[in-house]
Symmetry: C2
Subunit: 190 residues, 2 copies
């Protein structure tokens, strides 16, 4: 039962956090969503913080596995750059509840060292996936600059999406980031 319950609770947590748009959800909310008692959630995770950590870990694992798959399918550095962008704006990732969850974790990272660690891993991974492929095409310093810029643009499009004020869609977000890359690469004759 243990693995079944753990997964159910992590999925429930993600769902509840996304709906509620905040980590200020109760163990009861999560347990109810998973169809078990609050006491059971404590039994398997020990504490709310631990459940939250597992939850973000799962979000990250999903993103990683999508990225690995997308990178494997791409043949050239330029295609791999596009793959990284595409994965970032994949429908699951760009869903309002997922964005709300990410945002909540970003806020939490200001206080929880454990949460921050995971987000730093995400930020580094995104940057490094971009950087590795840019370095094939450009001088190192330019590659680093552009990786930073592209990563920032991706994250920025996310956060702006969270407000739903400028309802810029998935396609437009991808196009904007691709355009940034293309224009920058063209400056180097690529």
């Amino acid at each position: 039962m243990e693995p079944v319950r753990r997964k159910a609770l992590v999925d429930a947590a993600l769902r509840v956090i996304g709906d509620h748009g905040s980590l200020a959800v109760t163990m009861s909310d999560i347990a109810r969503q998973a169809g078990v008692s609050p006491a059971l959630a404590h039994h398997y995770f020990g504490s709310k913080e631990q459940l939250l950590i597992e939850t973000i870990r799962s979000l990250l694992r999903q993103l990683r596995s999508d990225t690995v798959a997308a990178l494997k399918a791409a043949r050239t550095p330029r295609a791999r750059l596009s793959a990284v962008i595409r994965v970032s704006f994949h429908a699951d990732q760009f869903a309002p509840e997922t964005i709300a969850a990410w945002l909540a974790f970003y806020a939490e990272a200001q206080r929880s060292e454990g949460t921050r660690r995971f987000l730093v891993i995400y930020a580094r991974r995104l940057r490094s996936n971009l950087l590795a492929n840019l370095k094939v095409l450009l001088p190192d310093d330019a590659a680093e600059r552009i990786a930073e810029g592209a990563a920032a643009m991706i994250d920025g499009l996310y956060i702006r999406q969270s407000l739903k004020s400028a309802p810029i869609g998935i396609e437009a977000s991808i196009a904007l980031t691709e355009d940034y890359l293309t224009t920058q690469l063209r400056g180097f004759g690529r």
Copy 2:
């Protein structure tokens, strides 16, 4: 006394939220920072939510007044674009505590309609300040695209700063955004 206390409490709230990195601060924390009793904070603001709303309003007012001043000093559209960028990364705005506070408000906006309204105003204002000046230089559709891209990059540089993982400084952030603009404008012979 009222205006004095209100300002002291709003400033204290900003400070405490920034330090704590979250809106999950107590009225007691805020009141202590302001040197008054929790009861007094309630007396003047009625509720915690109201105090928080006033706090974000003050953050926004500061940003607006800085922007207006910077725009007034700039003579050309291109100079005004630079001014908008410079204000966004002004030292006060880019201080870790300020960023933490902004982030906390973004998360809160997922639940509080009042908070969301203010952030939407911020997002719109940033976009519109960029857009108005871009439209002088470029066709409308290109201007809109670039305004969106620049706004996203600015917000993204913020959020990445909040993790303090890639400690990209103020100067580098400005340079990155300027470079985006310059490169894009060059595509149109500007």
